[in-house]
Symmetry: C2
Subunit: 305 residues, 2 copies
């Protein structure tokens, strides 16, 4: 029997159609599990739990293989069609306007993980229906579990979502989602409230404004990397989560020092991800470039007492 | 002849009427020069250039005296009425909705500075009509001049504004103003563009997201102090500028290390200012509290390489 990957992610693998002020792409490999795993693969071996259709090409799958991502729990449905998302961004690039969503093979996704996958010590529940997230969570005997979610689930499946939140160690969501989830406009109070529901950690992604980490005892915040050109924001949050979880799995410990570094690595990966369509930038990224931006974060946030 | 104050500010001294989700105050001492000078007074001696009417009470003026602010260039117009502003904030507290503005004595404000005031080495041009800012700038033989502005002047007096920008060392504006001024949605590119117009420094205030400092060669950014309750955001930007300029004037030098510290001190002062109406919080602030938050900034932004 093979060794479990240090990190496992469940989420969507999608074929996106994306329009930004700078260009458009009809067929763009996307999905939360895709962006997450490509990003995390720079730090550790990662396994993907997801479902695809027959329209998923060898070229699409090659993206996973070239990053040595474990696809043994990537299920292909004969005759099925891969999850599709079409979206558009305006000039501010902060909000995606969904033009079309087709669940396709995702509508009946019922993951049954391999015995090996069930032993992964780090698990990330990408943004999918919260009941499905919980089913996966219950199958995996992980040491550290983090989850994402979105406004759709907060609106439509709040009770299920709260049950899932109660069984994870960390939540990684964006600013607006945190406020909406807590029903509290002040982010600091929203965070305090969410941390009474079970998780020990809350990571808040703030797009161009950076990210913050809340625990019951501590607070950490960083601005974002200053980018002169953001080409396609799709997957920024997932590549952030991939860098965050990938670094934690590589370090194999959860303490304040490691968590803070993980937030910076997440920010670095997101900053590269948005520079081109899909995973194009990360596919050619070098380890040296990650180190360089990590050090730049130190440089542009440092001040002397 | 007396010594010039190390720091001079020109701007509005106002009587505000403010409504927030947490309360309202019919008569609240406000104005850019007020918030700026009260904040800066914790770092250095500051002189105010502004105009008031007969309705300005001894109680109002006591706020300046108790902070040892030099009011010898605060002109009182017999029979005049002080500048009035009425505004309201919604739950997000990010945007002030102006309900009423009465220029009153400000309509004919034509500052003629004392010989002493003209020798102040540090000068801040608060948010007033840009031609007026330039007239003051030309009277003062300052070593370092910074300015604020607002969307109104960007919209209505752009040419005059650009002339003023050309004769200052630093601009201290908010995020949306920087984008609007540069006609560029990407903040980093907006900053690069503005820095080709004359100023050596651009400070961008981002409200609850912190602040950033741009020069042609360097970049610095900090998140904001995490506040669980923001009571009244009025004057946050001016108290930020007061802390920033006050610290520079106290340090009496402009290098990267000093500028970065000044950004943090500005953030600290803004964080206290918004905790109560008007200058109420700063009036009872202790030097020890400023030091404490300055150190907290270091703590919550620090990460190890």
């Amino acid at each position: 029997m093979s060794e479990p990957t240090p990190l496992l992610v469940v989420g969507s693998v999608a074929i996106d159609s994306i329009k930004t002020p700078f260009g458009e792409r009809e067929r763009s490999l996307g999905g939360s599990a895709t962006h997450f795993s490509v990003s995390a693969s720079f730090f550790t071996e990662v396994g993907v739990v997801a479902v695809i259709g027959e329209d998923f090409t060898d070229e699409d799958e090659a993206v996973f293989h070239e990053r040595r991502i474990n696809t043994s729990n990537l299920q292909r449905i004969p005759g099925g069609k891969t999850f599709r998302w079409a979206g558009e961004y305006g000039f501010d690039l902060n909000t995606a306007h969904t033009l079309d969503t087709q669940l396709n093979v995702f509508a009946d996704f019922n993951p049954n993980l391999s015995d090996t996958a069930r032993k992964s010590p780090f698990l990330f529940l990408g943004n999918i229906q919260p009941t499905l997230q919980r089913e996966v969570r219950e199958q995996v005997d992980a040491r550290f579990v983090a989850m994402d979610t979105m406004n759709l689930w907060i609106d439509t499946t709040r009770d299920e979502l709260l049950k899932t939140i109660a069984v994870v160690d960390a939540i990684v969501i964006n600013d607006a989602e945190a406020r909406q989830l807590a029903e509290e406009p002040n982010l600091i109070r929203a965070a305090r409230k969410i941390l009474t529901w079970g998780p020990k950690l809350l990571v808040v992604k703030r797009g161009e404004y950076g990210a913050a980490l809340f625990t019951k005892e501590s607070y950490f915040a960083t601005p974002a990397f200053p980018l002169e050109s953001v080409f396609d924001p799709t997957g920024a949050g997932d590549s952030f989560a991939g860098g965050f979880m990938g670094y934690l799995a590589q370090a194999d410990k959860i303490d304040e020092t490691t968590l803070r570094r993980a937030i910076i690595y997440g920010s670095v990966m997101a900053s590269y991800n948005v520079e081109e369509f899909s995973c194009d930038r990360l596919r050619k990224l070098q380890a040296e470039e990650i180190r360089a931006r990590f050090h730049q974060f130190k440089e542009f946030t440092h001040f002397e007492i």
